[in-house]
Structures are given as C-alpha cells and as structure tokens.
Symmetry: C2
Subunit: 326 residues, 2 copies
C-alpha cells in the first residue's frame, strides 16, 4: 500500500492528503437543513448531513489527490450513526480509487492493539469466517505503550499489505510538553562537561524506534517502509532532524494551513528524491468556502472551493520544493 500511495503521489504530482474532518460548522446550511428535515436534529440527521457533505468534497477532489484522511473522532462524536458514515466514507473513497488513512490514533497493550489492527486494517475471525470491520488502508498509531502496542499493527500490515503512521511529533501547541522533554540516552553518563551531550528529545527517541520498526517492514520493492511517522508541519526544525533519523520512513505531515504550517516549512520533510512526505490539510480544503480567499464560491459552491484550494496547495508545495532544489 505504501508503494501504491507513492505511485499515486507521482501520478497526481500532489503529495497531499485531504483531511475529511467534518465538523458541523463546516457543513453548508442547505445540506444541514435537508438532512435535518429528513432525519430530524438527531445523531442520524447529523450523520446524514456529514455524509452528503463528504460525498460532495470527495467527488470534487478525488482525481487531484492520492489520499484522504478521515479523522474518526469527528464521526465517533455522533455515536453509531456517525461511525456508520465513517465506514461509508472509507468505502466510498476506496471505490473512487483513493488511499484511505484512518486517523484513529489507536494504541494499547498487545492483545488490545491486535483487536484494533484487525478491526481497522485486517479481518477478524468469526467462527470459520473472516470479516472486515472498517477496512482503511493505513491508520495512525499512538506510541505511548511501546512496541507491544505497535507490533500487532505491523503484523496485520504485513499480511494485508497495508500501513501505519506512528505519532512522533504532533502538530498541536502543547505537543512539546512530553515530546520535547530531553531524555538521557542509553549508556550516557550524563553531562560531564557538555550538558547537551547524551540528551535527546523524546520525539527523536520515538523517531528512532519508528525507523527501527520500519526497517523490518519494507515492501518487496521500493525505498519506503510501510511503517510511517506523523510529524507536524508546525515544527519544521524538528521535521528536518527527524527526516535524517528516519530516512526510509514516509512522513504524514498535519498542521498545514489552518494550524499555521506554510509551504516553505514543508521542504524539510521531503527527501532528495522529492518523496518521503505527504501533507495533510483538513479545514483549509473542506471548509475553504468559509475563507475570504474562496468566499466567491459561496456555501453552494463549497465543492468548487475545495477543488480550488487543493490546486492552490499543490502549487504552493510544488513551488516551495522547486525553490528548495533550485
């Protein structure tokens, strides 16, 4: 699947993933009204609104980008009806040929991570049958529990030819509270003379772990592992360091646009082959019509606004990469 993602990036010339994180405040009034008059102001009504909204976005952008990243929390908040639409969105996007990255940030002790892995990427055994639950192509994974929490995903990925992105340095303002803490390196005696020697931030330690896990998870052909990493666009310097620590790791980069990341910040996340990273934008695309720049499209034109925003983002990244190489 990592190879499929890469070849789709090359075909579309767009290292872009569209985050399908449909908050109700993004959904145009006419879609909300239609859904509420059909299903009431209920979880079902919200889910129907989100489905119609998502479908519009996907129809408008599926030929331009390699991948989408539905954030499951935005569906889970609407309970079962919301999760039905998560599943429907995953299925619809796969039918459209998009690679689907389920942003689920799961991670638990071994037996529990195994359940998440089969539920999201694999097949679960029921009697003598094997059934598929959500069937994304990739999911995001939280590393706080260590290898036990990650290896069951790696196992399922190997069987199903799928992939994961492990959280390394997240895009949010408080990510440093834990992730930037300086850790004493194994074997280091600690600051005899130069204090900085022998210390590394948590995100580098996790990055090294991801690189090590990934080394055992290379596809038959190709230069990138199917164990990827998440590193926020909002931390370009950390991205530069992590790019070196994890040379064969594909990096999923959230935080572009609405969260503050800019095209020029992104070049550090790519390798010299022009690959190695895929940049996510969520509300910057799906709610583009709410920005001044795309206001001319209006609520009715939210799909066209999304398409324009993808084209602008593709251009922004391409010119940043050109400037960096030039």
């Amino acid at each position: 699947m990592i190879n499929r993602l890469i070849s789709k990036i090359q075909e579309t010339k767009a290292p872009i993933v569209v985050g399908l994180d449909p908050m109700m405040k993004f959904v145009p009034e006419h879609i909300r009204q239609a859904a509420f008059s059909e299903c009431g102001e209920t979880l079902e009504g919200a889910a129907e609104a989100i489905w119609q909204y998502n479908k519009g976005i996907v129809d408008a952008i599926y030929d331009l980008v390699p991948a989408v990243k539905p954030q499951i929390a935005m569906y889970e908040q609407f309970g079962i009806p919301g999760l039905l639409v998560f599943k429907r969105t995953v299925d619809y996007c796969r039918e459209k040929g998009l690679v689907v990255i389920g942003d689920v940030k799961r991670g638990d002790i071994g037996s529990t991570s195994e359940a998440y892995a089969v539920g999201h990427l694999g097949k679960v055994q029921v009697g003598s049958s094997f059934c598929s639950g959500f069937n994304e192509d990739f999911v995001t994974v939280n590393p706080y529990l260590g290898s036990d929490g990650v290896k069951p995903f790696m196992k399922v990925c190997a069987e199903e030819k799928k992939g994961i992105f492990v959280l390394v340095k997240t895009s949010n303002p408080s990510s440093g509270e834990l992730q930037d803490r300086l850790v004493r390196e194994a074997g280091a005696e600690g600051g005899l003379g130069e204090v900085a020697e022998g210390f590394r931030p948590v995100y580098e330690i996790v990055g090294e772990q991801v690189a090590a896990w990934g080394a055992g998870c290379m596809p038959e052909k190709g230069n990138y592992s199917y164990v990827g990493a998440v590193v926020g666009a909002t931390y370009p310097e950390q991205g530069r360091a992590l790019r070196k620590i994890m040379p064969k790791t594909f990096i999923l980069v959230p935080g572009y646009g609405a969260q503050g990341g800019k095209g020029a910040d992104l070049v550090h996340f790519f390798n010299e082959d022009g690959l190695g990273a895929i940049i996510n934008s969520s509300r910057g695309i799906i709610a583009a019509y709410q920005q001044e720049q795309y206001a001319r499209f209006g609520e009715q034109g939210y799909k066209d606004a999304a398409r324009e925003a993808v084209l602008a983002m593709r251009e922004d990244i391409a010119s940043a990469l050109e400037r960096a190489c030039g």
Copy 2:
C-alpha cells in the same frame, strides 16, 4: 461521578472493576452456536454472541462490584455491529447501577479530543438539539499529545460531572520503552557529581501533570479529583512512587491476575484511607471458567465462575490491605 464511584466502592467493599473485554475465545460454545445460527458467522453473529455473553456476566456480578470497564477495541474489531454492542453494554450496565469506565484510550489535538469527549462523556450539538453518543461515566485518555489533548475531556467532565483516567504507567511488558526513559528535569544542569540527580522517568513527569490537572478538577465535596490515572499492577514499585506524587488522584490499576499482578503488589496503590485505587481484572473474571481453579463450573456455568472469581479477588485484595495495615 468520582464520588459516586467511591461510595459504591465503600458499599460493596470491593475496589474492583470488571473488565468487559470479550474476546471470542472466551465466549462459551453454546452462546457462540446460538448466535451464529441466528445471524451467521458474520460481524452481527459475533456481536450477538458477545452481547449474550456480556449480559450473563453483568447479571452475575453487578451487585458485587462498583464498576465495569468495557475495552472498546474488543467491540470495534467487529465494526459497526460490535460498536452497537459496546453501546448496548454501556447502557445495560448503567441501568444496573454500575459505573462504566470506557477503556477507549483516546487523545488527539484539541479540537479532535473535544469531539471524543462529547461523543463519549457529553452531548454533541445537532442544530438546536443536544444528543448523546456513547455516554460512559469515565474514559481513559492517552497523554502523548500533552494538555491540548486532555483539557477538552476535563471541560466536558466538569459540565457533565464525569471523569477520566489518564495513562501514566501502563501494565504491558514494553511500557518502559518510553515511559521509563529518564528525563532531565526542568532547570537541572544534569549530573554534576551524582548522576541520578535531576532525572526522572517519563511516567513521573506525566504523573505530576495528572496531579496538576487534577488539582483544578476536584468535586465540590470529597478528597479525590475526577482526573484519575492508569498505573499497571505489574509495576508495584512505580505505583508506590506515583501514589506519593499524585495523592489526590484515583488510580485505575489494570494488570491484576492474568497479566501477573498479585494482591500483595496492590497495597502500594492505595492511600491510608484505604481508598485511592480501583483494581481491574478482565479475563481473570469473565473467562474464569477456563481456569483450572473454576473448571468445575464448566462452560454452562461461566457466570457462576465469574461471580466466584470476583469474590476471591475481593478477598485477596481485602486480606492484602489488612496485612499491610496490620
């Protein structure tokens, strides 16, 4: 809700939470067969089997314990039908008067954690209505993203009088890979002379954060915050240290029984008031009939075996606490 949990612990004399983590291999043959002949070897069949199994367990133990902890992964692996049974289990347990701790280990950037918080503990706005998604009483939360990922849960807890347990030191074998790493303390110059000075393990740093978050989240009356912590029974020495760092934090302790934690290890997790901790056992109770000790009950008697196992666990903890105080 933390006060309700505490008074239920006092009533039942059982600081015990039963983990409802129904793996298919725990479900007795007769229940599986009945469900499969009704719904086929499908996700629906698996979900029906789990529901009947859960209902049997809950009916057998609800008067003995204050709380249950369904592990959502064990339901999520069966897709939407599985999550429907998660919801049904939560509702059923609340009807029976049990406190429900959703073991969901969610955690994300701020806006996303907010969605998880309203979906699991609060109400989500749909038009002018407010709808409830899963409606647990507590959930577990992952701290890797820092305050941004935790505060939205705290806000919803304050509004809804609910609570969370933040992962601090998890029970699994590899938890130390990240959680035991030694971190340089803020302001410490690092090991001039005594190397150990100025370093603390990650779990202590997170424990301090939990204590700080919790200080702002005290119920009107009572000694314990509604921001709790997860610390594994398999690490009693770390539990002792964390008990001191977080004196007003209620600790949810997984890892008893099947994972290797013993009654004597548990005393460190309690305060002198005999409170401050609640011990989880999952397969040790729900699959007790598969242990030699309870084999006499047979598959048909799985509920009675579960009840016996709860009584034995209550006795084990009570005598360990007595020995510790005597």
